[in-house]
């Protein structure tokens, strides 16, 4: 136990504390009510109890100074568990509560609530994490138990110094920023807009729609992607509560939950969006007589001109100019036939980028995914052999509005007679991406079906496992299997062109069901590339101050209980930026994210953790050390009084100034020096 005086073993106060071990309720300091602590140790079913000897922890806790009662219970977070705390406070006169269970990130609020329900200030509570930090990470029962006891002792010592605190409220602005205009962002934006909230929908491409707009049919129902997506895209454009910003990047995010200041940059499209009606006469008039540059929407399978419409269903239905390709930009000597063709004078060669600041209360991230670059697995031959395609390319081939008008043909225009589809390309592989991309099995089966339908080719699906956990998924699999698609369970070892073949590919694969190695010749090989975080996800997450999990997807606050929240209050996740998802899941999560944002906004305020810092004026010498250290400029120097002063509204509670104050004159609520000293000593005191 920390002694609060400086003088050897003879201090009276010291004895008072030690004496508390005898009867458990001796006063800590003269003149104050005795400290009476209740300690509750949770079994968490068997989650904790299997590895930590909960009874022993409880017994040891009961022997600690100032502990009036120590109990263990199966589930402390359950109603009876919380009720137990409440009753003990009332009946035993407890004035401090310690619960040893899971991470405070999960249940600190719960138990603060139970503490308050018993009539105590909720901050007379301390949580001990003996699940995530002990039972789940240690095998050895003895050392896990010992650790749990240490952590409980630390909390008991710490909680004695807790004070009653009040939470602070800050108002929430009602506007929401949605980042990304794929199906996730569209759904979230529409949900919020329908609820009467103003939404800024920011998309970096020239059109919203995202990956879904590139697909032909969607599994397992085979309904047409465009038919279900396009109406939503137009709705976004038309909705009075949505400000749509395409070709726009978020460059800076400042502020905090309730009042974020977001700086966006509108890149020039060299077209006046308010004038262009998408008649495309400028495109016809372009000095390039036919397309010369790879069309991004068609994944390079068709060519377009420097002035173009992003795709037929683009929203907004407005053309743009690629300055890298347009002759006017490179030489300044173009005949500018497009300018003549445009009777609305919508073409603006001198348009410049524009920066704007938006004020919003919440942010929804819907930045999506990118497909795995098949060149990273060169043994499948992509980029080496022309007839190896990625699935996204084939999505365009089978699409009626695609480069071949929906014909599945090889690069030389021939129809393939045999087609291979390799599953799990880039996925479930320690060398590339370890995760299952979730959608590839189903879209591969869909492509098998469509190709069979369109070409009557022999189709071989090479898979590791077929994963069909979804409504109607397994049934679709059965249907495709019945159609005569070959399903070969085995990983493709290598793909190569025959020495004397005419582009025919040989696929070496172990057929594990037949128990043999097979070499299957195909005309066309489709790689079912997985989903992965966008290349700039790391940069984006820094801008928004959120976290990525180890695999690079944006990290949710809790995998089960807070799947759309992030660790940054007021920032939510929707769709594949959080991990691979199919369309229904994406839509569901986008709705959930919008719902969370609504719940936040409609409450109109948020309660903040009262862990702010304050200067003890009579102790401060006005040394000004703290002033430049505060990242929020929350500390001012009062020249008249020669004191530092903290504006608690601006203070975010990091505690940098507290640690730095050379005379120890700044105090941080919930993290006072003495509380931390006691906690450190508690984990170290040898039982």
């Amino acid at each position: 136990m920390l002694r609060e005086d400086g003088f050897g073993s003879g201090s009276t106060r010291d004895r008072a504390v030690d004496g508390a071990t005898v009867n458990g309720d001796a006063p800590l300091t003269n003149g104050n009510p005795p400290i009476r602590i209740g300690v509750y140790v949770c079994h968490c079913g068997t989650n904790i109890a299997r590895t930590v000897d909960v009874e022993q922890v409880t017994e040891k806790a009961g022997e600690l100074p100032n502990v009036t009662v120590a109990r263990d219970y199966k589930y402390m977070c359950s109603d009876p568990g919380q009720e137990m705390i409440k009753e003990d406070i009332e009946e035993l006169g407890l004035n401090r509560i310690v619960v040893a269970s899971c991470s405070p990130n999960l249940h600190e609020e719960t138990f603060r609530g139970a503490t308050a329900a018993g009539g105590l200030n909720p901050f007379f509570f301390q949580m001990v994490n003996i699940r995530e930090h002990a039972s789940w990470v240690h095998e050895d029962r003895e050392s896990a138990t010992e650790k749990a006891i240490d952590l409980v002792r630390a909390a008991v010592q710490r909680v004695r110094h807790h004070r009653a605190l009040e939470t602070r409220r800050v108002p929430i602005r009602p506007e929401v920023l949605v980042v990304g205009g794929g199906i996730a962002g569209i759904t979230a934006a529409l949900t919020l807009a329908h609820a009467g909230k103003h939404v800024y929908l920011v998309e970096r491409e020239a059109s919203i729609g995202g990956h879904m707009a590139q697909f032909d049919k969607t599994f397992p129902t085979l309904d047409c992607a465009a038919c279900i997506l396009t109406p939503k895209m137009t709705q976004v454009k038309a909705h009075p509560n949505i400000t749509l910003m395409t070709m726009t990047d978020v460059v800076k995010v400042e502020g905090f939950v309730g009042s974020y200041e977001v700086t966006v940059k509108h890149r020039p499209r060299y077209i006046d969006v308010s004038l262009c009606v998408g008649c495309q006469q400028c495109i016809d008039a372009c000095v390039y007589k036919r397309g010369k540059f790879e069309d991004e929407f068609d994944v390079g399978l068709s060519k377009r001109k420097p002035i173009y419409l992003p795709n037929a269903q683009a929203v907004p239905q407005v053309v743009l100019i690629d300055p890298e390709q347009c002759i006017q930009f490179s030489s300044g000597k173009c005949k500018q036939t497009c300018l003549e063709a445009c009777d609305r004078d919508a073409i603006l060669f001198d348009q410049e980028e524009r920066v704007e600041t938006l004020e919003v209360g919440a942010i929804i991230m819907a930045t999506g995914f990118q497909t795995f670059d098949a060149r990273r697995s060169p043994h499948y031959g992509y980029g080496i052999y022309p007839n190896v395609y990625t699935a996204l390319e084939v999505e365009r081939l089978v699409n009626a509005s695609g480069p071949t008008g929906g014909e599945v043909v090889l690069r030389d225009g021939e129809k393939p007679t045999s087609v291979g589809i390799v599953h799990c390309v880039g996925s479930r592989d320690q060398k590339t991406n370890p995760w299952c991309s979730k959608v590839c099995c189903m879209y591969s089966l869909k492509l098998a079906h469509l190709i069979k339908e369109k070409t009557d080719a022999e189709v071989y699906n090479f898979y590791i496992d077929i994963r069909t956990p979804g409504k109607g998924f397994e049934e679709f699999y059965q249907r495709v299997a019945a159609e005569g698609t070959h399903l070969i369970r085995g990983k493709v070892a290598s793909v190569y062109q025959q020495a004397d073949g005419d582009g025919e590919l040989l696929v070496d694969v172990e057929d594990t069901l037949a128990g043999m190695v097979r070499r299957i010749p195909v005309d066309m090989l489709i790689l079912a590339v997985g989903l992965e975080p966008r290349a700039d996800a790391e940069e984006v997450r820094r801008t928004f101050n959120i976290t990525c999990s180890g695999d690079g997807w944006f990290m949710e606050r809790h995998p089960k209980l807070a799947p759309v929240e992030t660790f940054t209050d007021g920032v939510y996740l929707a769709g594949c930026c959080q991990g691979p998802k199919d369309i229904p899941e994406t839509v569901a999560q986008a709705g959930a994210a919008a719902g969370q944002a609504l719940a936040l906004i409609d409450r109109a305020y948020i309660e903040l953790e009262p862990n702010t810092a304050h200067v003890i004026a009579e102790d401060c010498s006005g040394c000004k050390t703290c002033i430049p250290l505060c990242p929020y400029q929350a500390i001012l120097h009062d020249d008249a009084e020669n004191r530092a002063e903290i504006n608690e509204v601006l203070c975010k509670g990091c505690g940098v100034c507290v640690a730095a104050c050379p005379s120890g004159s700044i105090v941080q609520n919930l993290f006072e020096d003495m509380e931390i000293y006691e906690e450190i000593e508690g984990v170290l005191a040898y039982a």
């Binding site: 300091t29 650790k147 180890g550 990091c654 941080q668 931390i676 000593e681």
Partner: protein, 180 residues
């Protein structure tokens, strides 16, 4: 409670299990420790986590207090540079750490006993590696022996057990800790 007394610790390195105090920031490294838990990623049980909101809250006194109270090692965990939840608290932690380490080393404490690591919320695996590594490093070093040899005080009167535990100095004496 028993203080960690000099020369009474475990006699051989094989039996010795180091005590490591881990001062983790709430947003990155504490989260990584939670993630290690939800991922059932085992690591050395020697590490005891004490949570602060930001690595910038960590006062060198906490570290010295930990050593003085029997820690064989202290691990500071914060967000990667540029990732601090509070923008730049981790830089302050780094500045203090670089100076403190010079002092700690001048006082004969091996550098393996004090580490600062940037561990993001997703780097449970890194946390495990650092924890295991530190436990192994310190196990090899043996217990931290701070205290003053007992024979020095054999004749001293009124000294006794106090001598092995660094005291709280003068300074806390005048003020009572307010217990509401």
């Amino acid at each position: 409670m028993r203080e960690k007394a000099d020369n009474t610790g475990p006699t051989s390195h094989e039996e010795f299990e180091p005590r490591i105090v881990a001062l983790f920031c709430n947003w990155c490294t504490y989260m990584a420790a939670d993630l290690a838990g939800t991922s059932r990623m085992g690591y050395a049980p020697n590490v005891r986590v004490v949570r602060v909101m930001c690595s910038g809250r960590i006062d060198p006194q906490f570290i010295m207090h930990a050593f003085a109270r029997g820690a064989d090692g202290v691990l500071i965990g914060g967000c990667h540079p540029g990732d601090c939840h509070y923008q730049e608290g981790n830089y302050k932690a780094l500045r203090r750490f670089r100076l403190l380490r010079r002092v700690i080393e001048s006082l004969g404490i091996e550098r393996e006993r004090l580490r600062l690591e940037w561990i993001s919320a997703s780097e449970a695996d890194r946390l495990r590696r650092v924890a295991d590594e530190m436990a192994a490093d310190i196990r090899a070093l043996g217990p931290l022996q701070l205290s003053i040899p007992a024979e020095d005080f054999a004749s001293a009167e009124g000294a006794g057990a106090e001598l092995t535990s660094p005291r709280i100095a003068w300074q806390t004496a005048a003020k009572e800790v307010a217990i509401p």
